[in-house]
Amino acid sequence: MWGDWGEIPRSGLSYAALHNAVFAFLAKRFATFLATLFAASVLTFVALEVLPGDPARVILGVDAPDSAVAALRQRLGLDGPPLERYLDWIGHLARGEFGVSYTYSVPVIELVRDRLQVTVPLALLSMALAAALALGLGLYAAAHHNRRGDVVVMGLSQLGISIPSFWLSLLLILAFAVSLNWFSSGGFPGWRNGFGPALAALVLPAVALATVQAAILARFIRSAVLDTMREDYVRTARAKGLSANATLWRHVLRNALIPVVTILGLQFANLLAGTIVVENVFALPGIGRLVLQAINNRDVVVVRDVVVLIAAAVIVINFVVDLLYAAIDPRLRARDV
C-alpha cells in the first residue's frame, strides 16, 4: 500500500513536498516521544523517592548497623540530592546506558532481554486470541442485531468484562492444570527446551489475559459494525447485487476496523500492565514479575529503567497504530502527513 505513493499524486503534493511533509511528521512524532519519556521518567523517579523503604536497609536486613547501611547508601549513590541523582540517571539513559540491579548485580538490560522472551510472546498470543475471539463474536452479534444470538454474546461479554484476571487464572489452573492435567499450573521451561512446551506454558495465562480484552473488544467491534452497516455505501454495495454476507466482509469490516484499531492499540498497552498480575499467578519469569519483585526488593534501578522502557514500548505501539490507520484508511495518507 505504500508503493502507490509515487503513482497517484495526492492533493497535488509534489515528491519533494511529500518528503518534507513526511520528515516534519516524523520529527513531530519523535519530539512527542522524547517529551513523553521525560514525563514518565520524572513520575517514576518521584514515585520511587516518596516510596517508603530504604534500598540499602532492605539489602542488608533490619538488623544491620546504621553505619553499614549508610556506607552502602553512599556506594549505591543514594545519598546525593534528588535532582543530582535524577540528572545522573537520565544522563546515562540518554547515552543508552542502563543501571545495574542491586539484587541481581546484573545490568538491567540483560534482565529485560531474558524477561521479554516470556512477556512479548505472552502479550502477542493473548492479543491474537482476543482479536480472533472478539472479531467472531462481534460480527456474529452485529449480524444478529437485537436477536437471541446478539443478546447471548453481549451477556457473555458482560460476564467476561466482570471477571478479574487473577481469579480467572486460578479457575483455569483448577480446571485445566489440576483436574484435567492438560497444562502445567505455572512456570516456564524456556524456549531452548523446545517450542511446544514453552508455548503450552503460555496458553492458560494468555487465555486469562485475553478473556477480558476479548469481551471489551467484541462490544466495540459489534457497535462499530452496526454503525458502519447504516452507511450509504453499504446500501450501494447491496444495490450492486452483493449479498448481505459479502457486503459485510468486503465493505463493512474494513471501515468498522478504523475505530477498532484505536481500542486494539490501547488494549495492547494495557496488556503489558496486565501481565504483572497474570505472570505472578502463573509464576512466569516475565517483565511484569520482574517489576513486582524489584518493587518488593526496593531495587530502584530496575524499577525505574523498566518503567521507562515500558513507556517507550507503549509510545511505539501507538505509533504503529497510527501507521495502521493510514494502511486501512486512504483518506489519512495524504491529509495528516
Binding site: 446500501r235 450501494t236 454495495a237 450492486k240 447485487g241 468486503r250 486512504p330
Partner: protein, 329 residues
C-alpha cells in the same frame, strides 16, 4: 419488459407506531421509457425506489406487487433479488459524498459490479471500469480508477456512481435525487448525462426528485406523490399544460426558478399553507385535504377516485374541474 408497480404499500415500524410511507401506489414503466416521480421529502419517493430494489430498511412491511419480467419482485428471495440488483435493476443514490466506500478505489468499486454478476474477470472488469469512467465524462480515467472517492469532487463522484450503476448494462435505472447534493451548474450536466445514457442504451429510467424543474425536462411522463399516495400522473407536456391537483399546482408555483422569471425583481416564493400530515395518524381521506382550499367534506373521509382528464393524464381529486379552471401555466 415492463416494470409494473401495483397497489404498492410500504409501512415502516416507528416508536410511535406503524408509519404508512407509501399507500396504494401504482404505475408502469415500459422498456426504454422515462418516468419522473415528484414530491416533497417524506412523500414516499425513496421508499418506492427501495421497494423496487428490494432494499427497504429492516422492519419495513411491504404490500401489493412489483411485477417485472413476469415475476413479482416482492415474492423473490434475497439471493434471487441479488441476481437482478445491479444486473437488471440499477440505482443511483442521492448523496455522492457518502454513497461510495471511502477505503476502496473507484476502479475496485465499479469493477465489483461486474465481478459480482460474473460478467468479467478482474482484468476485464478493470478495463471496463476505465471505459465507463471515460463514458461518464471523467478526465484521465486510467489514473482515476486507482484513486479513492475523497480525491474526487461531488460531481465526479456522482459520475462514478452512474458508471457503477451502468456497469452491467441494466434494463432499468432508478435515480433517486441524483443531483440534489450538487452545485446547480453541475446538476444539468449530470441530468443530461443520465438522460443521454438511458437513450443510448435503451434503458428505462425512473427519475426521482423533489424539484419539478429537475424532472420536467428529462422525462416523458410524470407522477406527483403526496404523503405516500400518487395524486396526479400523465405525459409531461400535457400535464404542465393542465396541472389539475391543488397540491401539484402549489408545488409548481413554489419552484424558485419560476418565481425569479415571473417578475424582473425577485419576489417572495409562494408556499403551500399548512404542514405535511403525520403519516402515523393519517386517515383514509385525501392526504392533502387539510391544506386544500377547495376541500369538501367527502375529501376528508375517502381517497378520491382517479379521473381521466386526457387519455394519458389522470388526477385523484374530487374538485379537479374547479382546480383546473384556475390553472395558468
Amino acid at each position: 419488459m415492463t416494470l409494473a408497480v401495483e397497489n404498492l404499500s410500504v409501512t415502516l415500524a416507528t416508536a410511535r407506531g406503524p408509519l404508512a410511507a407509501v399507500r396504494g401506489l401504482s404505475f408502469t414503466l415500459g422498456r426504454g421509457e422515462s418516468l419522473g416521480i415528484v414530491g416533497e421529502s417524506g412523500c414516499g419517493k425513496t421508499m418506492t425506489a427501495l421497494a423496487i430494489m428490494g432494499l427497504l430498511p429492516e422492519g419495513a412491511e411491504v404490500g401489493g406487487r412489483i411485477v417485472w419480467d413476469g415475476q413479482d419482485l416482492l415474492s423473490l428471495a434475497d439471493d434471487a433479488m441479488g441476481r437482478l440488483r445491479g444486473r437488471r435493476l440499477a440505482m443511483v443514490f442521492q448523496e455522492p459524498m457518502t454513497a461510495l466506500n471511502p477505503v476502496q478505489t473507484i476502479g475496485d468499486q465499479i469493477a465489483e459490479a461486474l465481478l459480482v454478476h460474473d460478467l468479467a474477470d478482474r482484468v476485464g472488469a478493470m478495463r471496463e471500469a476505465v471505459a465507463l469512467l471515460e463514458r461518464v465524462g471523467i478526465a484521465d480515467p486510467e489514473r482515476r480508477v486507482r484513486g479513492y472517492p475523497h480525491q474526487l469532487s461531488g460531481g465526479q463522484r456522482q459520475r462514478a456512481m452512474i458508471a457503477m450503476a451502468l456497469a452491467c448494462k441494466p434494463d432499468v435505472l432508478i435515480a433517486d435525487e441524483p443531483t440534489s447534493a450538487l452545485d446547480v451548474t453541475v446538476q444539468q450536466q449530470i441530468l443530461g448525462l443520465i438522460r443521454s445514457l438511458a437513450a443510448e442504451r435503451g434503458m428505462a429510467m425512473l427519475l426521482i426528485s423533489h424539484d419539478l424543474a429537475v424532472v420536467a425536462g428529462n422525462v416523458a411522463r410524470l407522477l406527483v406523490m403526496y404523503a405516500g399516495r400518487g395524486v396526479e400522473w400523465g405525459e409531461t407536456a400535457q400535464m404542465f399544460g393542465a396541472l389539475a391537483h391543488p397540491y401539484a399546482q402549489g408545488l409548481f408555483r413554489s419552484a424558485p426558478a419560476r418565481a425569479l422569471t415571473a417578475t424582473t425583481r425577485p419576489r417572495r416564493l409562494p408556499t403551500i399553507a399548512g404542514q405535511v400530515p403525520d403519516l402515523v395518524t393519517l386517515g383514509e381521506g385525501c392526504p392533502f385535504a387539510e391544506r386544500c382550499d377547495l376541500v369538501e367534506e367527502p375529501c376528508r373521509s375517502r381517497m378520491p377516485e382517479w379521473q381521466a382528464l386526457a387519455p394519458e393524464h389522470r388526477v385523484a381529486c374530487r374538485r379537479a374541474e374547479e382546480s383546473l379552471r384556475r390553472w395558468k401555466p
